[in-house]
Symmetry: C2
Subunit: 336 residues, 2 copies
DNA sequence: CTGTTAGCGCATTCAA
DNA sequence: TTGAATGCGCTAACAG
């Protein structure tokens, strides 16, 4: 089998110069229709595909965007990636994925690779806004943070605080009075949760925290084990609702409650975050705060486009915060 | 901000020629250690990263591999992708993802893109082995089929037939006598299931089929609705076990049974396929046939490496079939 | 309307 | 041990 054809081969085949072939293939107006047809046919016959690497070297861009995320298998992440790929495909971009596992070190390797590969843009969920690798990425490549937001960086996130408020409100309105919050030490969702309680001058609403963090599937089992270790069927009843920082944690709680024989939502209500597919397949189906993923992805691409043209986004327009909404399902719904 | 540095910039900085820089950076033996150090330092300071596009154009390979799959959010697929990315990263490859949605048409666009991008290799789950796009891909690029297998193509799959046998055996041994198989018209798993029954000369084991197919998350709801439409609490008891072609379908069945108030596994046992995270988070936890994903991914990379060196794999060594194993969980386990 | 030429960044071959 | 020259494939500027 012969090597991959180049425009030179087509040129030879058609008895014209390379530039003519190049122009014909790019539908340049100054080529006669007859030539264009014959050239296109020849290209087709030879199975010609223009090499992106050559165009990239010339400075035309790689038509490749990357996403750097803390997990690829996480149900929310994989949905996000699916949308990014779809939107990218629509706009003529391929999508490269890189798993940082939430590690700043891994981010460093990844970012170097992205630079070497001259990706046109990056969607980034950084381990932290202080991550040096992330900062490098943001300063060298068109980079849009998704899911999170920071006024400093081009970012499109969901307001986790608002999400927390929605959950607090929902719990309050369904008469709950004592909540266990499960998640990392410092989470905006929980600040929003507390803020709602404060704003409503709710007295006597008890809140406790259980620290749990992680991006892999094991989080569910970890939370479950953690709860079973620290509580029994009686002591867990100090709470009548649980809010998990994400669906994985919430499901872990749900499982623990089932193990303890506590009815959900009758005994204790459980709410998650992300509205990932897991929330829908769980039984009882898990109430969860939904991020507007489609909108987020479309907006992120729009923002990235601006960055890719070399535009500097004015500070005021860098950060977008999308409103989440609460999807109430069986795990918190008591009926009327 | 200045443009990205090239080796020319480093050369100027260090007062040497480009070739010296190139050699120093690649640790060529004929450069003095002192020079290497100073050049490396300069490169570091300038934030230099060698452009992959330039090397690719020279014919060094793109260090990019792609995977073409029918879904990116499917729980099994996203786990597979995560492993592919990890293994690739270990070996210095970036991973590009492309979602075919199982459509031959989409595959065509994707494959053209892969050729244009000169990916070094492709992991492909084709919509069918007849797909012209897939065949093109396999003839032009180092391509390894994963999950499925065909003697004709380099492929590493799990024996779905063996998986079906395992389920049949498990159902038999737990005294089940009538099974509903849910999945596409033609599925090897079900052939394996039937084959087991035949081989054991099992008389009186009834088998029926419910056709359901798809790659998106909606499959779960579809199967659930489909069952509820066709059966009620009494008629569904014609069966005492259900085998879903994948975990999504099986979970749909599980939900329908729960809606009908049928105990699982006491009334009807349910088994899935893929052993995806969904099987583990389901309640009752879903028994499922596990594919050896890690092994599959490692073997697939090994096979791809051979292909990438230009080796032609002899017909007899093209196709590998890995043994699945059954993970028994609550949805089929009756206790002793 | 079409051909010639130059250059993108890099590694390598050939000279020194 | 190092430098100069070459070419990978493509497009655009410049000439006809």
């Amino acid at each position: 089998m012969s090597a991959r054809p180049t425009i030179a081969d087509i040129a030879r085949e058609c008895g014209v110069s390379q530039s003519t072939v190049s122009r014909a293939l790019r539908d340049h107006p100054s080529i006669s229709e007859a030539r264009k047809r014959s050239i296109r046919t020849a290209a087709e016959n030879l199975g010609f595909e223009s090499r992106i690497s050559a165009r990239t070297l010339r400075g035309e861009g790689s038509k490749l965007v990357a996403c750097v995320v803390p997990s690829l298998s996480h149900p929310f992440m994989s949905c996000l990636i699916e949308r990014l790929e779809a939107e990218g495909a629509l706009q003529g971009y391929h999508l490269m994925v890189a798993n940082s596992g939430g590690s700043p070190n891994a981010e460093k390797t990844i970012v170097k690779g992205l630079i070497a590969r001259q990706v046109d843009g990056v969607f980034f969920i950084p381990s932290s806004f202080e991550s040096s690798a992330f900062r490098l990425c943001g300063s060298v490549l068109p980079t849009v943070v998704v899911t999170l937001q920071s006024p400093e960086w081009p970012s499109i996130g969901t307001s986790h605080e608002e999400g927390g408020r929605l959950v607090a409100e929902h719990f309050m309105e369904s008469g709950r009075t004592s909540c266990l919050l499960i998640g990392p030490h410092d989470d905006e969702k929980f600040r929003g949760f507390d803020a709602y309680l404060d704003s409503r001058k709710v007295a006597g609403f008890r809140v406790e925290r259980l620290v749990a963090d992680g991006w892999d599937e094991g989080l569910t089992a970890t939370v479950q084990a953690n709860l079973l270790e620290n509580y029994d069927a009686r002591s867990i009843r100090r709470f009548d609702c649980i809010f998990g920082n994400n669906d994985l944690a919430a499901l872990g709680a749900l499982h623990a409650l089932q193990d303890l024989g506590i009815a959900v939502p009758a005994g204790i209500a459980v709410c998650g975050f992300d509205d990932s597919p897991w929330a829908r397949v769980s039984r009882p189906a898990l109430s969860s705060v939904a991020q507007p993923v489609s909108l987020m992805v479309r907006s992120a691409f729009a923002l990235l486009q601006r960055l890719m043209t070399g535009e500097t986004i004015p500070p005021g327009e860098r950060s977008y915060s999308l409103k989440p909404h609460l999807v109430v399902r069986d795990s918190t719904y008591l009926g009327k």
